[in-house]
């Protein structure tokens, strides 16, 4: 087991606005206001709701013990994040392939899975899910023993969920979370391999206060 070190990545921000808009969007989705729901890709474990200019929700329940896990991304999310544009700019100027920002909450463990790229995003026929990784910034976590894992061939990497810290995981590899209680994540999704992104953040500490 390899204990994954936290990245030098810091965001000091009041997340209440993001939380309240996230809650409202889910409520409107549950009331049927966003009917444009797409079917999941094979083994994707989620359906997607296109919210138009309000973003996108990815909804899964088979990875989270039957409870619904909503992952929100898009322009409305970025409007609640004053650091979104400069952070995106910094990432893109470094030559990294920024995919999106996402915000989510969940209350349970997350079963082992591999993130699926849409067919048009796949660029390695021998490994369609290659070249993707996620930076997970822990906003809050009720479970002090919460742990995230990802498997890299024979090694299993593990990191805790300490609020205010960020870790990188290779989402093209099997990964899962042991957790009980509210866990809240700000995520940056990349279409680069883990090592490229990890090297960048190790050499480029990031700090935003807003």
């Amino acid at each position: 087991m390899i204990l994954e070190p936290a990245l030098p990545f810091e965001i000091n921000h009041n997340w209440n606005r993001t939380r309240s808009v996230y809650t409202k969007i889910i409520s409107q989705y549950q009331q049927g206001f966003f009917a444009n729901t797409t079917q999941s890709l094979p083994d994707y474990h989620a359906v997607g709701a296109d919210l138009g200019q309000y973003g996108r929700l990815s909804i899964s329940n088979d990875l989270t013990q039957g409870t619904e896990w909503y992952i929100w991304s898009g322009e409305f999310l970025e409007m609640t994040l004053p650091f979104a544009q400069p952070l995106k700019q910094q990432i893109q100027q470094a030559g990294l392939k920024f995919c999106n920002f996402a915000y989510f909450q969940h209350q349970t463990s997350i079963k082992q899975h591999v993130d699926k790229k849409a067919p048009e995003e796949q660029n390695d026929p021998s490994d369609p899910q290659a070249n993707q990784c996620n930076l997970n910034f822990v906003i809050s976590c009720d479970d002090h023993d919460s742990k995230s894992y990802w498997q890299d061939h024979d090694d299993t990497h593990v990191y805790p969920s300490h609020a205010g810290q960020a870790w990188l995981l290779d989402s093209s590899r099997p990964h899962w979370v042991d957790n009980s209680g509210l866990r809240e994540i700000f995520q940056i999704r990349f279409h680069d391999n883990y090592h490229t992104v990890h090297k960048y953040f190790q050499n480029q500490p990031i700090s935003f206060t807003c």
């Binding site: 409202k24 309000y54 409007m79």
Partner: protein, 143 residues
């Protein structure tokens, strides 16, 4: 919450005299006694929730000039065409009547087309503009 509000208007004019005053929470923020331009754009920084009051003045019956067949040749009007909240654009016709109401002419159903003297009120009754948008399905574009 401090919010940037952009208001866009289309103006119908052919002589002096059409006036517009805009107040936020009873404080006058814009006034013209004679609009002689085709487009008017106004940017405000306002704390939400708030009410924005528009007052149209100086419009007379004879300002609508028609030909012998009754077709309008010239007219004076103000059309409130677009509202943007923190840069997020909303077409005003999607705003529900409960939140955008014009008192000038009850026979005119188009609440953002003002061709009479009167007052229009825009009610932004949420502290967060994003929640205001989400709370109105027509604004949201899903109703």
């Amino acid at each position: 919450m401090l919010t940037q509000i952009d208001l866009d208007f289309r103006i119908g004019h052919h002589a002096t005299g059409l006036g517009l005053a805009i107040s936020t929470d009873e404080k006058l923020v814009y006034q013209s006694h004679s609009l002689m331009i085709d487009q008017l754009s106004i940017r405000l920084q306002v704390h939400l929730p708030c009410k924005i009051l528009f007052e149209v003045v100086g419009r007379h019956e004879h300002d609508t000039v028609i030909d012998h067949q009754g077709c309008i040749l010239k007219d004076k009007f103000i059309e409130f065409s677009k509202l943007s909240l923190d840069g997020f654009p909303i077409e005003t016709w999607t705003i529900p009547s409960s939140h955008l109401h014009f008192s000038g002419d009850p026979t005119v159903s188009n609440k953002n087309f003002w061709s009479r003297n009167g007052q229009a009120q825009l009610v932004l009754d949420e502290p967060d503009p994003l929640l205001w948008i989400l709370n109105h399905p027509t604004v949201l574009g899903v109703a």
